[in-house]
């Protein structure tokens, strides 16, 4: 997020796209509800009539995967009506003309045909967004989990830049992070192209710094992203995997292929707190610790580094994961330093990472609400809002984006579009939440949401069992006839190991990030008769 969570309550306008905030980020949604009740405008763009859409001024119920059309048409309206911020563009950006020429093709009328959103609504949304000062964009995986996810993000960035909604309180561009430490994992360098703090592995100066710090030579080549790793594993080229804290056989797209890959692997290590679908393939399982049993930091969506503190001991022989990783390194013959505690690990990490150089466990003891990076030195108070003095580096480039359809579109054989996601009551592979009474009482087993017109065509009643099939697999689930859906679209949560949504999903990945297309694949629904 360029801005902070507590700024949301003072918004004048919130543009929420591809985020079912009340279910995926309930506490951020509370801030949005608070802003709404104080009079802020709310525009929601989502194929489903989600909870927030009910309280929105405008709900743009687009067809899944048509975001580039919707957002480019909004840009078209803003520029053709002269609502863009010329001073900001002049001072801070580059490439405006090329982008403007491109979006000139995206008229609201043509966008209506593609997205299903009335041209008038697109115009109203564009005008409201462009003419309101404290207007923030909030998005999450509904934007990124597409083969054109990066294009979607570029389109949003274009809107932010052309209206100058950057470096302003309660505005900006705000991806809401799906997991407790997505931000922190990326920051710490758990990415194939960056060392900690987004320092490129291909930059020889950076590499030299890390070689000196770690005392070994390092690979100059970019690694494989997770999506490609899974495919290389299935192709028999990746021969061993070490999986910490993820159930890849539930969470990755097209999991049949992942299972094929794991079967072919010569060596699989899992570091886990529960047995899950992936540990079935493990050669060694290392028992780790959950958040309550260890020290460290999580970094949340608004770049806020906050402490995790040990309150109880791990069960049995289980150990803190940071200690396990050090022990593995030592067993492999690497002289990992004898860190006394997690704080010392953090100090080493911070000493190599300018963005967080001013943060330490000790400072976090004094700052109860955490510290937001960039925080380059110990006297720096942290940065709640980014880009207050313009872009951090040079000029911000506008991006020219061409619409590309999703990788797999519905046809006669598989006539429905499936999107998947998270519900309020469960969490991802649900090894934690399915062990608690409340989530289970609310959602015991897998379901699909379906519009009543589609249900009628298939002669389905609410609560009936169905089989959902895609080109990659099939699962059984209950039908929930839901007024939230668009006709032609169904939705399924990803939480249920015995009925895995990711047997169906498409593993086609975004060209830049490799993120799988969880939000669009073609499926067919069949009634399970005589049950």
């Amino acid at each position: 997020m360029t801005n902070s969570i507590d700024e949301i309550r003072d918004s004048e306008l919130m543009f929420v796209i591809g985020s079912n905030t009340t279910e995926a980020h309930p506490i951020i949604a509370m801030e949005m509800k608070r802003a709404r009740q104080r009079g802020a405008k709310l525009i929601v763009a989502d194929p489903r009539k989600i909870w927030l859409a009910e309280m929105a001024d405008l709900h743009l119920q687009l067809k899944p995967g048509t975001d580039v059309w919707l957002l480019s048409a909004m840009a078209h309206v803003i520029i053709s009506e002269g609502l863009h911020d010329r001073d900001f563009i002049e001072a801070n950006t580059e490439g405006f003309d090329a982008m403007a020429e491109k979006v000139a093709e995206y008229t609201p009328e043509k966008a209506e045909e593609i997205t299903g959103v009335p041209a008038g609504d697109i115009r109203i949304a564009a005008r409201l967004y462009a003419t309101t000062k404290h207007a923030g964009i909030y998005y999450t995986l509904g934007i990124t989990e597409h083969t054109h996810g990066t294009d979607n993000v570029y389109c949003l960035a274009n809107l932010v830049l052309m209206t100058g909604h950057l470096g302003v309180r309660s505005a900006g561009m705000n991806p809401l992070r799906g997991q407790n430490n997505v931000q922190g994992a990326n920051d710490a360098g758990a990415t194939p192209i960056f060392y900690p703090g987004y320092q490129p592995v291909t930059d020889s100066k950076v590499r030299e710094k890390f070689e000196n710090a770690w005392g070994v030579g390092l690979s100059p080549d970019n690694g494989l992203n997770l999506n490609v790793m899974m495919k290389e594993m299935a192709a028999g080229k990746l021969k061993a995997v070490y999986v910490m804290g993820e159930d890849i056989v539930i969470s990755e797209p097209n999991v049949t292929k992942v299972e094929v890959g794991l079967n072919q692997c010569e060596f699989v290590v899992c570091q886990e707190i529960f047995h899950n679908e992936t540990t079935r393939f493990a050669d060694v399982i290392l028992p780790g610790a959950c958040f309550a049993e260890k020290d460290g930091v999580f970094t949340n969506s608004d770049r806020r580094v906050q402490r995790v503190r040990k309150s109880v001991n791990p069960p049995g022989e289980a150990r803190e994961d940071w200690k396990i990783l050090c022990d593995v390194a030592r067993s492999a013959g690497y002289p990992m330093p004898d860190y006394e505690n997690a704080g010392e690990v953090f100090s080493e990490y911070a000493s190599l990472t300018p963005k967080i150089a001013g943060i330490s466990h000790q400072r976090l003891e004094e700052n109860v609400s955490g510290l937001q990076w960039p925080c380059p030195d110990e006297s720096h108070p942290g940065t709640p809002t980014l880009h207050v003095d313009g872009p951090m580096i040079g000029r911000a480039p506008f991006q020219v984006v061409d619409y590309r359809p999703s990788a797999e579109l519905p046809d006669n054989e598989y006539p429905l579009v499936l999107s998947t996601g998270r519900t309020l009551y469960h969490y991802n592979s649900a090894t934690q939440t399915r062990r608690d009474a409340g989530p289970v009482a609310k959602q015991r087993s897998n379901f699909i949401e379906m519009h009543r017109s589609d249900a009628r065509k298939l002669d389905l009643k609410h609560g009936e069992s169905v089989r959902v099939l895609s080109r990659r697999g099939e699962v059984e689930a209950e039908v929930w006839v839901s007024p939230r859906m668009r006709p032609g679209c169904i939705w399924m949560p990803m939480h249920f190991a015995e009925s895995r949504a990711n047997l169906l999903t498409n593993d086609a990945g975004d060209q830049v990030t490799g993120t799988g297309e969880y939000k669009v694949c073609a499926v067919r629904v069949e009634k399970l008769s005589n049950r």
Partner: protein, 364 residues
């Protein structure tokens, strides 16, 4: 366009108990007093909610006003003069607290009972010499048949301040609970008196957190929570990316309750969702993996010592690397784990095994 969120702000001074205090337009007497360290008792007040002035505990004298006024709802204006302690206010509090006590469950000492979630009324009543009033025992109905696993309502401890129903309306905005009936029968109810699972309730438990008297409590917490010696550890929630701060209450090496820090202190402003507040049974679940496991020649996983398991991991990865090269290895780190652990995982991948094939689970 006129946006109510971006009001013009004026500062001026007011006088509280003869002391000059800086105040901002739109603030209430309680807002200013709290900032200045002047204690005004409240029960129905919550900074996240619109002032209700319901409990009458915060009544103060405002110069020019014939009656006492509720400090939590009374907006400041330039040069106003407020008195928060006087014989008149003391008399009012004695009568008010005594009336609350007449309609409240009391313990052997004659004070409002203590609960696992505290009871602020009990603390207030300790400050007065209560009047000998007849017990009222108003016939408020509870929901004894509500099978929801988390939230319990004890009508005998309810003072009808409506913090819970206002929270449900104004903050969580699901309107699952409401004030119902009239007069002595007024109670906190759901539509049709249904169990919470059959309402719009999302089980966030915010009603429990905001209740000042412990009339709403966690069903999950141990029954003897009142007397249990617990330690509290501040930490960060392990579910979504909001980064809510939690207080983990532990006893005997077990988490027995999770609460939020006070409103205003942290990013979650006193709020939590159903997962953050209640979904902690997994921590001590019997299914936890408690020992390293190594697959034997029989194809089954067998318990092993840490030394055996670590050697197996190192040898397994090294032999694949020797055979096929470093880039035949893949390291999948976790956005569920800490920053330090992610740092160490990429260091393991890069420095120990020589490959940049490291990514984290949220990448796809």
């Amino acid at each position: 366009m006129n946006y109510p969120n971006q009001k013009r702000v004026e500062t001026f001074s007011i006088e509280i108990n003869g002391r000059s205090c800086r105040a901002i337009s739109g603030e209430t007497v309680v807002d200013v007093a709290r900032r200045e360290g002047i204690e005004i008792p409240t029960l129905c007040h919550d900074t996240r909610l619109e002032p209700a002035g319901a409990c009458r505990v915060c009544l103060v004298e405002v110069e020019g006003q014939r009656r006492l006024q509720p400090g939590c709802a009374w907006k400041v204006y330039p040069d106003m003069k407020v008195t928060t302690e006087s014989g008149r206010i003391e008399k009012h509090r004695t009568i008010l607290y005594s009336m609350y006590m007449a309609d409240h469950q009391l313990d052997e000492s004659g004070l409002p009972v203590e609960t696992g979630n505290g009871n602020q009324l009990r603390e207030l009543c300790k400050t007065i010499d209560p009047l000998p009033l007849e017990p009222v025992n108003a016939p408020r109905a509870g929901r004894p048949d509500d099978v929801n696993p988390y939230i319990e309502f004890n009508p005998d401890l309810c003072i009808l301040c409506a913090r819970c129903t206002r929270y449900c309306d104004e903050v969580e905005a699901v309107n699952a609970i409401t004030l119902s009936n009239r007069g002595g029968e007024t109670t906190i109810a759901t539509a049709g008196n249904r169990g919470l699972l059959d309402t719009t309730c999302e089980l966030c438990g915010g009603c429990i957190a905001t209740c000042p008297t412990g009339a709403l409590i966690e069903k999950k917490a141990p029954e003897n929570l009142v007397t249990l010696q617990t330690e509290v550890t501040r930490s960060t929630c392990n579910f979504c990316g909001v980064g809510c701060q939690l207080d983990l209450h532990t006893h005997n090496d077990r988490v027995v309750k999770i609460t939020s820090p006070e409103p205003g202190e942290t990013v979650n402003d006193g709020n939590l969702c159903v997962k953050g507040r209640f979904a902690y049974d997994f921590i001590h679940h019997e299914d936890r993996i408690t020992t390293p496991l190594v697959r034997g020649t029989d194809g089954e996983l067998h318990p092993a010592s840490w030394e055996q398991a670590l050697t197996a991991v190192a040898n397994g990865l090294k032999s694949v690397k020797d055979k096929y090269g470093a880039d035949s290895l893949g390291f999948i780190s976790s956005s569920r784990c800490t920053g330090e652990e992610n740092y160490l995982m990429q260091k393991l991948s890069r420095a120990v095994f020589g490959t940049n094939n490291v990514h984290q689970c949220a990448a796809t």
